[in-house]
Amino acid sequence: MRDLIENILHDARRRGASFADLRVNTGESTSISVEDGQADKVSSASRSGAGLRVLVDGAWGFAPTNSITGEELRRCLDDAMSMAKAAAGHVAEPGVVAEVEPVEDTVEATAEIDPREVPLADRVQRIYEIEQVARERDDRIVNSRANYADGVGSLIIANTFGTYIEQQSMRCSVRVAATAQSGDARQIATESEARPGGYEIARAIDPDAWAGDVADRALALLDAVPAPAGTFNVIIDPRVCGLLAHEAFGHNAEADAVWAGESILAGREGQQVCSPLVTIADDPTLKGLNGSFVYDHEGVPARRHDIVREGVLIGYLHSLETAARLGVEPNGAARAEGHQSEPIVRMSNTFIDAGDATLEEMIADTKDGLLLKGGYWGYVFTARGQFTCNVENAWAIRDGKIGQHFRNASFAGLTMEMLSRVDAVGNEISFDLGGTCGKGGQGMSVDAGGPYLRIRDVVVGGQQQAGRGQ
């Protein structure tokens, strides 16, 4: 295989490519779906293929195949060269890549239990037991689901710099959802565990605590009232903080958006972009998180990315191309969903770093406000720096005390304006947002976290007219 890959890359150079890379991807995955007491859907997927990318006269050409044969890889080379040449001559800003030292390495997957060695019936039973806890928690739980997935794969990353890396991977995820009903009202809560590793991830779950908590949260939401609409001082929990770090800031720090003029952080390196209390980083080298990896998909070793230090913008996340365009060293942030997609700049484990406040201090020091817990989803328009985060729960804070429980709330704002209004940062961080981030049509495993954070004057969308404060 290595000879074949290197021959293809050699031919790409010979035919005029200034750079080429090839990723060969094989793997298999198994998934189990349990709903309302029946594990009635079990699936498996087998994937294989290669994606070849060439840079010719400043234009990129890309062609993947699902068949890893010499004949197909040569067809890919023909197609990729033809694609690049179709674009060459029309490129206003020619593509470039930063030169890097070649890396040769083999990376083994880190897992205690290879899921393939666990009988399928045992995996089904385990997920059934988790779902059962949610289902049997209370008569008002009217739907419960648990989904399990494991995946084992191998990725070869090779390029014309001489890099040749074989990276094995193993991943496992478990998700549970509970729907509670009272009268016509339904509420849902979900939880997931997802990260690199083997079946030990599913085995380590305590169903009573984990799935039981999900059911309890759904039940509690039945008694919550619709959230107020208006502008509030808010305290956000680590999960919402992770969502904020990822959506509001992280996407703006991806250097492809910066270079393309699609980020509000473009040209602001060295400037104060948020409160001096805020430090933001993205770190794929943190162990055991959903966005952790050893090499990115361009073969660059993973490293911590310092984005903001004490409110000052330090740097961005880079691919080989964006590093060259912005004249910096690549920092290993390019990943691709599979062989049918090209590597693009992606976050890994993004977080706001800890400060020195306690949650109790923050609450006690808040006269009127909201405590927001449980980040659900979010999105951002990076060019405008406008983001939205949806949360599971809100509680009123009145005179330093927690009050009414609310549901159905989102908050939104302009990234730099909002983060300049952070006035307290909690002293402990946690990562609790392992999931999939979508960008450019590609999904990617990421994680996010942070401490409790207090932000002044945040617009919250709710169903009740409340105005400013509560």
């Binding site: 490129v91 270079w259 393309a260 049918q340 406008q386 969308g461």
Partner: protein, 445 residues
């Protein structure tokens, strides 16, 4: 018979031989060619060929589903055996009855266009260059992102009940996202066009529209937090309609995780709302003669003067409920299991133009685009109105910033007090604007 259908049928035979009570197999072979624009420059072309198959097998109602990214008889047989083994590992499902029998339907014309499928990357480079020029003619500081491309392919579906269908399809499109930055004041907008035949594709004007609308977004301001009327423009209605129809999928209803459970035949919206599904429109973007299990699709009203006429069924949910499948089995590709989905949706236009609907509002919001999609479980929604304008004294005035909506599907649907007579039309789709009489919004104003 097509080669793909041969492979699908080989998979079905292998699954039956391995002990499947019922099974089906789906194969597809597709090619996409695309050109990407970044920072107002062509910089990337790709040609992506994707081949694969999936086999779904049932044993005592338990479902096994296996996919592989290969298209060979051998891979089909191996996947079939794997699917049966997975089905045996699944729990028996007494609610599973059977897969549907074959049904007869006329093929929908013009879903495949030879001319379109023959386009090469050079054509899309030209479309993109034209787009960049158009945007810059509107504003020479416009930053253009986006691209153009085509996809075409063939798929085949076979089942143990005798379904044997193969079809070809093509579609091409272009989309542009334009950024206008004047200091800290930033306006952005996007526009796109997509079609299944070249005659329906309008290449010129897409980027120009995006650029003009991006300029209109400059100078955005917050509005007062209040209950106000909203006018949802055509694109802003898509999230609402899509999520309401999603909540009408029978799977969620039967599993008691849909806010529309128990509402079939009831009024769920104002009587001004009639929503039809038209799956057989020639060259329609979402047209198809059959659903993802081979059941003939049928034109029908899904919401008739505010009444939810039917839930959307695939064969599993239909037979479980004791009704006939409605032709709504959805299959996203060989990698996706069978779910539920709709084809072309058409909202029935009303009496007054969008401009007239706006002119009747003293204080409100026009929403050009936002993902106003109530949760399929709770029916609740809290999200940002991403692109819109304040309405003052019957006219759209300043663009809005950081403005959120908090509502429910019930409130939004029952408060629709008018549908516009003018509409955006995409092949097969009719999208008029909707006016919602009163909704809570929050902003900094």
């Amino acid at each position: 018979m097509s080669e793909l259908l041969d492979i699908a049928q080989a998979a079905v035979e292998a699954a039956q031989a391995a002990g499947a009570d019922f099974c089906d197999a789906f194969c597809s072979d597709s090619t996409d060619v695309s050109v990407e624009v970044e920072k107002s420059s062509i910089n990337y072309c790709a040609t992506i060929r994707d081949q694969g198959l999936s086999v779904r097998a049932f044993v005592n109602g338990g479902q096994g589903f296996a996919t592989v990214q290969q298209l060979t008889i051998e891979a089909a047989r191996e996947s079939a055996q794997r699917a049966v083994a997975l089905a045996r590992a699944a729990h028996p499902d007494p609610d599973f009855v059977r897969l549907p029998d074959p049904s007869e339907a006329e093929e929908v014309p013009e879903l495949f266009d030879e001319e379109m499928a023959g386009l090469d990357a050079g054509a899309f480079v030209e479309w993109c260059l034209q787009g960049i020029d158009e945007a810059r003619a509107v504003a020479d500081d416009a930053i253009v992102q986006g691209g153009a491309g085509v996809g075409w392919g063939e798929s085949a579906l076979a089942s143990s009940t005798g379904v044997a269908i193969s079809k070809r399809g093509s579609s091409a499109g272009l989309s542009f996202f334009v950024i206008i930055a004047r200091g800290d004041d930033i306006g952005t907008y996007f526009e796109q066009d997509m079609a299944r035949r070249m005659a329906d594709l309008e290449i010129g004007g897409v980027a120009e529209t995006a650029a003009r609308e991006a300029i209109r977004q400059l100078g955005s301001r917050p509005v007062p937090t209040a209950r106000v009327p909203l006018v949802l423009g055509p694109l802003a209605t898509m999230g609402l309609i899509g999520s309401v129809i999603g909540a009408a999928e029978a799977d969620g209803v039967q599993r008691n995780r849909s806010w529309l459970a128990g509402r079939e035949g009831e009024r769920i919206a104002s009587e001004v709302l009639t929503l039809r599904e038209e799956p057989l429109v020639p060259a329609g973007l979402r047209s198809s003669a059959y659903d993802g299990e081979g059941v003939a699709r049928t034109p029908r009203a899904l919401i008739d003067r505010g009444v939810l006429t039917t839930y959307l069924h695939n064969s599993y949910t239909a037979f479980k409920a004791g009704v006939e499948p409605t032709g709504h089995a959805g299959r996203g590709g060989y990698g996706s299991s069978v779910g539920i989905g709709v084809s072309n949706l058409q909202t029935q236009p009303g009496e007054k133009t969008e401009a007239e609907l706006i002119s009747e509002i003293d204080e409100g919001i026009y929403v050009a685009y936002a993902g106003i999609s109530p949760s399929s479980v709770t029916g609740e929604v809290s999200t940002t109105l991403d692109f819109g304008f304040r309405i003052e004294n019957g006219e759209c005035t300043t663009p809005i910033s950081t403005t959120l909506i908090g509502s429910t599907g019930d409130e939004l649907l029952s408060n629709i007090d008018a549908i516009s007579s003018d509409y955006r039309e995409e092949p097969g789709l009719i999208l008029p604007s909707m006016r919602i009489s009163s909704v809570q919004i929050a902003s900094e104003g």
